[in-house]
Each structure stands twice: as structure tokens, then as C-alpha cells.
């Protein structure tokens, strides 16, 4: 199967899960899992960097469309896309990825993928939550929300890749 088609299918499935199920999940107002970033996490390592940014922007806009938050998710997702190459460089410097290979558990190990996911999800959530509450004054409360939601998003992403990851190449 062509890589492009494979990743397009990931995109549709992950967005459907996010928009139809997870967007409606509100645990105490603090825990909003945003796992749609998984799509950006599993793009091929050697993807064209400008394309990566554009895909980040498009993914974010798609979320914004369903959540009435024009620009909010776009901004956070573009940040994630921008940071991704550096984080890959930081954690997986010693690994040689082939042209079309994605950073998956089978390749980088469970802990490796966990670190990679958490750092990027945390940065994404940090910008997302602070942009959303700009006019709120409860800075520490928001930080707590960022931290808890990052943990939850990471947990859901890890569960998803453990269930479906074995079939991905």
C-alpha cells in the first residue's frame, strides 16, 4: 500500500475518533485528551520538513473547524510539527531510519516512543491551553490542566499504538 494512502487513512480514522468520541469527553473540565496529534507523530521520519509544517497546519485547522476555535489547534499543531525533527534528533540520533519509515514502538522501543510522544504532546498542550485561556487569570490551574491532559493524551496514544501498532509497518 502506498505510504500516502496509508497515512491518509490514519488521518481519517484518528480525526473521526477525536471529533466523534474524545471531543465529547470532559472529565471534570480539566482532562481533554487531544490524540489527533498521533497522526503527526507517526508521519515518516524523513518527510519533507515544509510538508510536515503544512500537514500540521491542515490537521489543526480541521480540528478548529469542528470545535469553532479558528486558529487555536492550528497554532499548537504547527508548533508540534516544528519541534518534531529536533525531538527525533534528540532521542533517536543513533537509529537509521529508511526513507519511508515512521517512528514506531517496534523500531524505537516502548520507552523511546513514550518519551517522544510525551514531550511533543506536552508542548502542544502547553501552547493550546494557554492560548485558549488568555484572558483567564488562573495560570497555575491551567498548568495543572496542561499536565493532566498531556498525561491522558499520551496514555490514550500509547494504548492506541499498542493495539494497532503491531500491524503498522
Amino acid at each position: 500500500m502506498s505510504n500516502t494512502i496509508k497515512h491518509s487513512i490514519y488521518f481519517l480514522l484518528i480525526m473521526a475518533l477525536q471529533v466523534l468520541a474524545l471531543n465529547h469527553m470532559n472529565l471534570g473540565g480539566y482532562l481533554n485528551p487531544y490524540v489527533y496529534v498521533l497522526f503527526l507523530l507517526v508521519l515518516p521520519v524523513h518527510i519533507n520538513k515544509s510538508l510536515l509544517l503544512l500537514l500540521g497546519f491542515a490537521t489543526g485547522l480541521c480540528m478548529d473547524y469542528f470545535g469553532n476555535t479558528l486558529g487555536l489547534h492550528a497554532s499548537a499543531s504547527v508548533l508540534l510539527a516544528f519541534m518534531r525533527p529536533s525531538v527525533i534528533q534528540l532521542f533517536f540520533k543513533n537509529l537509521d531510519f529508511s526513507e519511508r519509515e515512521s517512528p514506531m514502538i517496534s523500531r524505537v522501543g516502548f520507552m523511546g516512543f513514550l518519551k517522544y510522544t510525551f514531550i511533543l504532546v506536552f508542548l502542544h498542550h502547553l501552547l493550546l491551553f494557554y492560548l485558549e485561556v488568555l484572558s483567564f487569570t488562573d495560570g497555575l490551574q491551567t498548568l495543572l490542566a496542561v499536565l493532566l491532559s498531556s498525561l491522558l493524551s499520551t496514555a490514550v496514544i500509547m494504548i492506541l499504538v499498542l493495539i494497532f501498532g503491531s500491524r503498522k509497518t
Binding site: 473540565g29 470545535g67 497554532s75 525533527p85
Partner: protein
């Protein structure tokens, strides 16, 4: 000049990042103003359909609570009826026809964001337009900010731009209601004159000044009013009468004389539009 291009090319990744980030942020900050959000928000039947298919499944889980709310509303309407009947020949009866109510179902709703929106299953084809008021069975719920053929998007009271003109029922003083907390059950009553003391349970109703909501629609009841030492305008905490968390059915309010009233207030603006 050549050096500039070389620099841009060398830092292509960073430059593109900055450009896209600036685009995102300008979109975001534009959407934060009430008037811009009126023109910016795209409502489409596609999104409405996605939400209503989800809603069709989830609806069943809330039937019980929804029924209870409808029964409560019925009871309250019945009790009002006895008051209204004797007045039917008088002016009050005519005033009533100024507003038309359209019932709609909520297909999507959030309460935990900083800016919350409600999507309903009535749109242009049912005569719904932007800037119409929306109430629940128990009180004010929001304002329509976008319409497609079959769906409409509502700015919930739980939105930083949703500031509603209100009145303290017991003494008819004008105040405003805003949402500043994270809590979807409480709002703030702002611009309270400093000589007014509010007590727990005091009722806040719509003022009828805004052309959007009729007079005396319930907004909430006061929980706490702490007098401040300064002589400026004061704030109080209020419990919303609408339970945003379990909003199922709402009513859209059409003001039949809105255009006429608007023209009277601001002839230039309405002729421009």
C-alpha cells in the same frame, strides 16, 4: 538582496514555521472579537450532520433527564397561564406577539472550553438568523452567531464575548452578565452600582434593552455579593438558571420588530448593512 534570499532558503523550515504560526494566531485573535466572530464562523450542513448523527446515538442515554426538564417546564408554563389569561384583551397580549419562538434540538454543545458553542438543528430554512436570542426551558442560553440551511451555531453564555444586558429584578437596576470563571454553573454580574446590596437568591433577568432577548427572561440567581471598599462598579457571583451541561432543547427568539427598532436607534448603520 541575494544574501537575504540565501538566508531565507537556508532557514526555510524556520521561516515557514513563523509564517504559518502568524497566520494561525491572527485567525485566532480575529475570532476573539464578537463582531468578527459573527462573520468568521463558518457553519455548514456537513458539520451539523456529523454532530447530529453522533447526537442521535447519545440522545438515548439522556432521555430520562430530558423528560424531567420538560415536565418541570410544563409545570411552570401551566402556572404562568393562570396569570396571563386575564390580561389577554389588554396590551400585554399584543406585546407577546412581538416575539416568536422556534423550538430546536441541541446537536452539539461544550461547557468546558474558554469559549463554548452550541449547535442546533434549525437554520435559515426555519427562519433563523444571526443575532437572534436563544433560551432554554429555564433561562437565557446564548445568541445565534452563524446559520446554514438546516443548522445554526450559538455563542453560549459561556463565552468571553457573551455579555448580556440584564436587570436586578427586585429594583430594576441595569447590570451586565458575563462569564469569567471556569465553572459552567456560575457567571458574574458586573457593573453593579456601588450603593446596591445584593443578597443570596436575588433574581437577575434579561433587561429587554438589547433587541435580542425580551424583557424578564430569567438568567440566574445571586450566590454571593462581596461589597468592595472602592466606590466603583461592583461584581457578584450568580448561578445560571440554565443548566448548560444538560442542554437538550432550546427555543430561538425572533423579534418581529427588530429591524424597525434598529432603524430607530441607529438609522445610518442599518441602512449601510
Amino acid at each position: 538582496m541575494r544574501n537575504l534570499f540565501l538566508f531565507l532558503k537556508k532557514n526555510q523550515f524556520f521561516v515557514i514555521f513563523v509564517v504559518i504560526q502568524l497566520v494561525s494566531l491572527s485567525l485566532l485573535f480575529n475570532s476573539y472579537s464578537y463582531h468578527k466572530s459573527l462573520s468568521f464562523n463558518t457553519v455548514s450542513d456537513f458539520r451539523g450532520m456529523v454532530f447530529s448523527s453522533y447526537d442521535a446515538i447519545v440522545d438515548y442515554f439522556y432521555l430520562r433527564a430530558e423528560n424531567e426538564a420538560l415536565v418541570e417546564e410544563n409545570a411552570r408554563l401551566r402556572s404562568q397561564q393562570s396569570v396571563v389569561f386575564p390580561d389577554q384583551d389588554s396590551v400585554v397580549g399584543i406585546q407577546d406577539t412581538l416575539y416568536q419562538y422556534v423550538a430546536a434540538d441541541v446537536v452539539s454543545n461544550t461547557v468546558h472550553r474558554r469559549n463554548n458553542f452550541i449547535t442546533i438543528n434549525k437554520g435559515k430554512l426555519s427562519g433563523v438568523e444571526k443575532e437572534m436570542g436563544v433560551i432554554s426551558g429555564s433561562g437565557v442560553a446564548g445568541i445565534i452567531i452563524g446559520v446554514s440551511d438546516n443548522y445554526a451555531l450559538i455563542m453560549s453564555l459561556l463565552h468571553q464575548n457573551a455579555i448580556i444586558s440584564a436587570r436586578i429584578k427586585k429594583n430594576q437596576h441595569l447590570v451586565n452578565v458575563a462569564w469569567k470563571t471556569r465553572d459552567h454553573t456560575t457567571g458574574m454580574v458586573i457593573d453593579i452600582p456601588s450603593h446596591i446590596q445584593l443578597f443570596e437568591g436575588d433574581t437577575i433577568v434579561s433587561s429587554g434593552n438589547s433587541l435580542i432577548f425580551p424583557k424578564d427572561i430569567m438568567i440566574g440567581t445571586i450566590i454571593d455579593h462581596q461589597k468592595s471598599a472602592s466606590k466603583g462598579l461592583e461584581e457578584a457571583t450568580m448561578k445560571f438558571s440554565t443548566e448548560f451541561n444538560r442542554l437538550g432543547h432550546v427555543y430561538i427568539i425572533k423579534n418581529q420588530h427588530k429591524e424597525e427598532q434598529q432603524q430607530l436607534i441607529n438609522p445610518e448603520q442599518s441602512s449601510n448593512e
